[in-house]
């Protein structure tokens, strides 16, 4: 016999998943971490983009579930600083370095989600949203390879500008965290 409370529990689980997704969507730092990770990775194939997005989603879910136990306030800006400056230098990562960037960006995005209770459903909701976003961005960047030469310059410089600004944001927030710590 089916459990009478099953629909209610499913509804409650779904609410948690939705909460996690909304938390992440409301966190500019989580979105910045996803964006800078995408522009740092070299475009390869659509299949690789999907695999990378799945890895990012998984790591972000893990990061989201362990957020309250970590000094995320300083860790997220530090991760943004590293990823941003690497992008600003014009590097496009592939292979194991891409894996490292996905790990760092995913953890930062998960931590930046700002989930307080860190239920597995919430972490999963955040991970699904971030994975979808990263997948869309990576496929979009893959499509940009076909742009005319005149716009290729804007795309190439745009990557560096995004990296520089997100790195600068990381540095600024790190300074604010240190200032708050000193005060």
């Amino acid at each position: 016999m089916a459990d009478a409370s099953m629909p209610g529990r499913l509804s409650s689980d779904f609410q948690f998943v939705l909460d996690g997704a909304i938390f992440v969507l409301q966190s500019p730092l989580a979105l910045a971490a996803a964006l800078v990770t995408c522009v740092l990775l070299a475009s390869v194939t659509a299949r690789t983009a999907v695999v990378r997005a799945l890895a990012f989603a998984l790591i972000a879910s893990v990061g989201g579930s362990m957020a309250p136990s970590l000094p995320a306030q300083a860790a997220v800006p530090a991760a943004l600083l590293v990823l941003g400056l690497t992008t600003a230098c014009g590097l496009q990562l592939n292979g194991p370095f891409a894996g490292l960037a996905i790990a760092l960006g995913g953890l930062a995005a998960g931590w930046a989600g700002g989930m307080q209770t860190a239920a597995w459903q919430e972490a999963m909701g955040g991970g699904v949203v971030l994975g979808g976003l990263v997948c869309g961005l990576l496929l979009g960047l893959l499509g940009l390879r076909a742009t005319p030469a005149r716009f290729a310059l804007v795309v190439s410089v745009g990557r560096r500008v995004i990296g520089a600004w997100i790195g600068a944001l990381g540095a600024l927030l790190l300074a604010l965290v240190m200032r708050a710590g000193a005060g």
């Binding site: 410089v157 995004i162 600004w165 600068a168 604010l176």
Partner: protein, 198 residues
Amino acid sequence: MSASVRRLAPALLLLVAPPVLAHTETALAGGFASGFLHPLAGGDHLLAMVAVGIWGAVLGAPLVWLLPVTFPLLMVMGAMAALAGLGLPAVEPGIALSVVVLGCAIAAFWRAGPPAALLVVAGFGFLHGYAHGAELPAAAAPAAYACGFVLASGMLHVAGIALGTVRAVPRGAAVLRVVGGAIAVAGAWMLLGRPGWA
């Protein structure tokens, strides 16, 4: 009332209804939206950011990416100086002056070498950052404010670079000279205290 008006009425009411925002992190004044709108609403910052992008595009590689990358990094240093309480005189006139200089550089197609171009942009970036850093502690959500500000500023730089690529089309250089001249005139008007502005 016609059927189409009846269908449209609820949508029109939505346009005039005040928003109900439950999550205060982004809804408070000084949050993401406030930071995002700040560079777009302030003429001096908007013109300076776009001008850096255009000038970079005019100067070509490597300055096309070096200028927009240097600007935010020096801005952060300026913001840190403001947060540390460092006193800096004539910040607002300095920002208006940055608009004049960058506008003139575009109008004159000043082919500055990398050290000179970087020095100009770094100095003005520091000033802009100082002004924003002074406003940050008052923001309700500094992280969200900074994210919004960064996103809008980066978009303005890229828009400036995109505008600078107009140079490649016939009469594109003349268009850019006119745009640069207009930016310089706007900067001069700001430097003079915006006469005629209520």
